[in-house]
Structures are given as C-alpha cells and as structure tokens.
Amino acid sequence: MLETAHEVLPEWRVSAGRRLFRLATLLLFAVAVLQLMDALGVTTIGFSNWRPLLYAFVLWGVALGGSQVLARGEPGQQTVFVLPALLFTVAMVIFPTFFGLYMAFTDWNLNAESGHHFNGLDNLATLWGDSYFWNALGNMTFYVLTVLVQYAIAFGLALLLNAEIRARKFFRVAFLLPFMLSPVAVSWMIGKSIMENRFGPAATFARFIGWENPAFFTSPWIAKTSIAIMDSWVWIPFIVIMLLAGLQALPNEVKEAAKVDGAGPWQSFWEITFPLMLPVSVTAVVLRIIFELKLADIVINVTAGGPGGATDTISSFVYREYRDRSNVGYATMVAEIYLVIIIVFVTLLLKMVNRFMQKMT
C-alpha cells in the first residue's frame, strides 16, 4: 500500500466538485425522464433510440470522476483509478441482469405480433416439466466430470514437459496450439471433417482397429464422448500450462531430497510432487470447471445438441430456444435459473475446496 500525503483543499474546489456532480446527475435524470416520457407517448420529441441516455450516462461517469478529483483531492484521484472499470462493469452487468429478470417472467417472443406480457410463474412451470432442460443439466454433470480426466492427462503432459528433454520450446508451443484455435474452427476441423463417418481419418483409423461402421455422433453416449474429446483437445493445454508453471516453481531441494532417500519415481510423485502441487491443481481445476460450465460453441456447431438432445448443454439449449423459436422470455428464464444453479454450485465448490485445503496444511 502506498502512503500518500494529506492536503487541505481550497473551499472553491470542494464546492465546484459538488456542483459538477449535481449538475451531471440532474442532466442524467432529465434525459432519462424525457426518454421515458417519449417512449410512453406522453411527449413527442421523437427519439429514434435510447442512445441519448447512454451518452448521458457516459457524461455522468466523467463528471463523477472530475468531481471526485476536485472535491476530494488525493483520495479522489485514487478513486478515479478504479472508477472506469467499476462503472463499466456495473452498467454492463447489473442492468442487463435485472432486465433479464423482468424478461424471464414474460411470454416474450420476438415473432409474436401482440408484444409481450407478464405471465407470472408460467415459464418456471414450463421449465419444471421440460425434459430437455433436465437432460441438458444431466449432460453438464457429465461434461464437468470430464474435467477430471482432462486434469489427469494434463498432469502427465506437464510432467513430461518438465522432464529433462531437448527441444522443450518446440513441444511447449506444439502443446499450446490447440488452445489458440477458435472452437468454431475446431468444430469443422475435427467434428465435421476428421470425425466424418466416411472419409475422416478418425473413421479410417477406427475401421483399421476393428470398428466396422464408425459413427461418432449418432448414438448418445458416443456423441457425448466425441464432444468431450474435442473440448478436451482445446482445453488440456490450458491446464498443462498452469501445472507446468507450478512444477517449475517447486524448490529443487525437494526433488533432490527425494532422490537421496532412494524413493522411486512413482513413490516420489505421490508423496512429494502431487501434494506440493495441490494448490495449483485446485486452482486449475476450479477455473476449468467454471469455463466448462459455459461450453456451447462446439456443441452448437457440430451436433446442434443432437442426437435427441444427447449432447446438449444449457447454453446450446438456450441458443436453440432463441434461434429456432425466438422465445426469449422462456430462454431467459432458463438462463437465469442456470445462473442460480452455477452460483450455488461454484460457492459450494469453493467452500469445499477451502475446507479441503485447510485440512491438508
């Protein structure tokens, strides 16, 4: 933390700062009221969109920063550091979240002529009886569990990269590359061409090892696994990089001590490396689970949730609900419920992890 000097501000600066802030707030309110009245048909200024309000908000933000510096001096200058990011995030997240809550309780359909109406808990009732939703939630459990497999493979690869090898740089870059590619490109490269049933190299290989009519996306469990494989291909490098950084940060004495003790590689891994790597591992796995909960692009582009919803994730399900039926009211309800589930799940996960880590140390 930095120590900063205190200064006494002249009276005019303080009052000017306050006046600036009041003026900007007044302007923001005036624009908001005018736009609202115009939208409700009370006045006929004829705004074509709500942009004036957006500009007024940006202006208000700038004025808030200026008034902080004017009226509070040094502490105000400190506040200005964090203010832009804070105002930006609040405006971009809080408003849509609350607006989304409103949408979730309407029968809003973009194609409907009659507009949208409040329909109470109807969407919730639909959701409760929607087998596609529960199915997608079940699939999410499967996808999240595959993170553990990814972690195991990634740990192996990180150990390999950490061994005394030549051309380490080459292998590191080669291992990283899948992470750089867009899931959409991966969907075509792997899902639609390599795993193509007739000519794809994966199908050829499958025939070679004795699978007569290879089909990667027609039976539910094989389709799910295929999606998980593509997803792993993209994300394993992410875990490898985090684990490798952890391995390289391990103190050398620890490894030497293990060698002197005459412990075999297997034993020294389980008794020394693995426990020491636990904090990094937990961070990597938790982050990875959080990203896995957003899985959508590959599913949308390769199977569109099929066959019969077997590969659906919540995100791809919501995406189809909007794309195919323009049913934004119900889609938003599903998304909001999913958000609640995620928050509860991640909170529990972090609590569990914390308790586990405390027990270990």
């Binding site: 933390m1 930095l2 120590e3 900063t4 074509s48 969109n49 709500w50 040094e74 200058q77 400190q78 506040t79 550091f81 964090v82 990011a85 930006f88 995030t89 971009m92 408003f95 607006f99 949408m103 690869l157 390999l160 990269l161 061994a163 292998f171 590191r172 870059v173 080669a174 590359l177 992470f179 750089m180 590619l181 867009s182 959409v184 490109a185 969907s187 075509w188 061409s193 000519f199 291909w233 490098p237 990089i241 985090m242 950084a245 390289q248 961070t283 959080i290 959508a296 692009d297 949308i300 582009n301 919540i314 995100s315 919501v318 995406y319 909007y322 934004v328 998304a335 999913y338 991640v346």
Partner: protein, 312 residues
C-alpha cells in the same frame, strides 16, 4: 570370515547391479518420454496439418484418404481459388474474398478494440486495487476485487438475451462498437487478474520516492510503474485478443450482417451440407492462421498471462 564376506558380497554387488542396469533403464525411460511427447505432439498438430493439407486437395483425394502432398496426392489451389486467395486469383476481383476480408477486418477491430479498452481500464483498476485502500460504503478492496472476478462465472447465455433487446433499443445491434463493449466485459476480469498479479510484484519503494519528490499519484503511475508493468500488459492484451478473436456466442447472436466476425462466417459455412471440403479447409486455415502465428511467436506472453497468480 568367508561367511562374513559372502554376507557382504551381495550387498556390495547390488549397487553395482543397479549401476549396470541404470543406463538401460535410463535409456528406456528416455525413449518412453520422447515417445509420449511425440504422440501428444501428433495429437495436437494433426488436425492443423489435416486442415492445411485438405485446403490443397481435390474431392477424390479426400475420399481416398490421401495424406501426404506430392507423394499420394498432387497439391491443388482449388480451395484457395474459391476464397480468391490463390496466386492466380489474388489480383482478380472476388466476392468471396471481399466478404472474407470484411469479416476478417471486423474480427480484428472487435478484438483489438476490446482488448485495448479492457487493458486500459483493467490496468487502472488493478493498480488502484493493488496500491490504495478503498472504502465505498461497506465495500473494501477485497469486495471490489471479488466483484470483478465473480464476473468470470457469469455464463454468456445469461447476458445474451437482455443484450439482444437492449442493443436493439440502443441501436447497437450489429455494430462493431456493440461487440467491442461486450467483449471488453468478457475479458475485463481476466485482465484485472493478470494485472493485479503484475502490480503486486512491483515494489512500492520507487513510487514512494517519486511521491516524496512531489510527483502526483497519476504521474508516478504513468511515468514509473507503467513502463515496468509493460510485459504484463502485453500478456493481458494478447490473451484478450485470443479470447475475443475466437468468441462465437455473442457474435452470432448480436451481429447480422455488417459487424459479423470470422467465426460466424466459418460457422455459417459448416451449417450448409455438401460444402466443398477444400474451400471449407481453406477458410478454416485462413481463420486460424493469425492465432497460430501468435501462438508460435508470442507463446511466452500467453503463458505469462495464463500463469498469473499461480505457482508463486
């Protein structure tokens, strides 16, 4: 005496045994390590090779499963011709190329714009959180940091629909500005994470000295801290570029024609059945090429961005 010697002999012989066996064991281990490394290199690179080589294949080369150029198939520019990017069509007019370049430019603008904005406001916030004590109502530094980081768990689907409606009202639908704003929101938590870690490693003594000399906190930040933190900013910037470049969900929902990005173009092609493999492969290759180049030449920064805060 002899019994003693006999008893000692095996115990002496054993280390010798292992010393003799060790080279073999070590070589065996080496071979295994390199075999495993090469296997995974193959897994990681084969799809890239496949896509690149398919963009030079004709239909019959694909159906017959040919893999090696010049050996079992003759490379052909057909895929690149359909994109207007082959040597003989590069100077001719091509609608597909114009469309591709437009999408490419949109992707560049959206990802560079969002990354620049996120790194700017994210670095400021990260510096503030790393150096000063804030108190906004009941909110302290820890709460503000948590607020920023908690945005990471917010799935895009939650924001997508409300943004669709709001952007329509704000006339931001299908604009690059709209994309830049939402991408900034998406990468901001990551930028703040990386930059906070970066600022935490810079000792405060230098700034303290500058402050004593009469420098303002903004002056100290811009003139002293920023140059030291530059590598971290580059890392955050490049990581953001990668994430924005690959983003598909928002791009496909919030853009229609004008602001459409490259992933949306690629996806719209995969949807149509019976598309030529060679042109699809050429399009995919062109779409991923910038990122492969970033991965090869700027790997250091990506790793730096991803490992911020861990392993230390």
């Amino acid at each position: 005496m002899t019994a003693e010697a006999a008893a000692r002999a095996p115990s002496k012989a054993r280390p010798q045994d292992t010393a003799e066996a060790a080279p073999w064991k070590r070589i065996g281990a080496r071979v295994l390590i390199y075999a495993a490394l090469l296997l995974w290199t193959f897994i990681a690179l084969f799809p890239l090779y496949w896509t690149l080589s398919t963009s030079f294949k004709l239909g019959k080369d694909v159906t017959q499963g040919h893999l090696l150029p010049w050996i079992d198939f003759a490379p052909n520019w057909k895929g690149w011709q359909s994109l207007g990017l082959s040597p003989d069509t590069i100077f001719a007019t091509s609608n597909v190329r114009d469309e591709f370049l437009k999408r490419f430019l949109n992707s560049v603008i959206a990802s560079v714009g969002a990354s620049a904005l996120a790194v700017t406001i994210g670095s400021l916030a990260a510096y503030g959180l790393s150096r000063f004590d804030y108190k906004f109502g009941i909110w302290r530094n820890k709460d503000i940091s948590f607020f920023f980081l908690s945005q990471l768990i917010l799935p895009p689907v939650v924001l997508a629909m409300p943004f669709l409606i709001l952007y329509k009202q704000l006339a931001l639908l299908d604009t690059r500005i709209g994309l830049i704003l939402i991408y900034t929101l998406m990468v901001l938590p990551i930028v703040i994470w990386v930059m906070r870690d970066q600022f935490d490693t810079i000792p405060t003594e230098i700034e303290q000295a500058a402050l004593v000399d009469g420098c303002s906190i903004w002056g100290a930040f811009l003139r002293i801290v920023l140059p030291i933190a530059l590598p971290g900013m580059v890392a955050a910037f490049i990581l953001s570029i990668v994430l924005c470049w690959n983003e598909y969900f928002f791009a496909s929902l919030l853009t229609g024609f004008d602001a459409q990005t490259l992933p949306v173009m690629v996806a719209s092609q995969t949807g149509s059945q019976g598309i030529n493999w060679w042109s699809m492969a050429a399009l995919s290759t062109a779409a991923i090429a910038p990122l492969v180049l970033i991965g090869v030449f700027l790997e250091r920064y990506i790793v730096m961005g991803l490992t911020a805060g861990s392993g230390r």
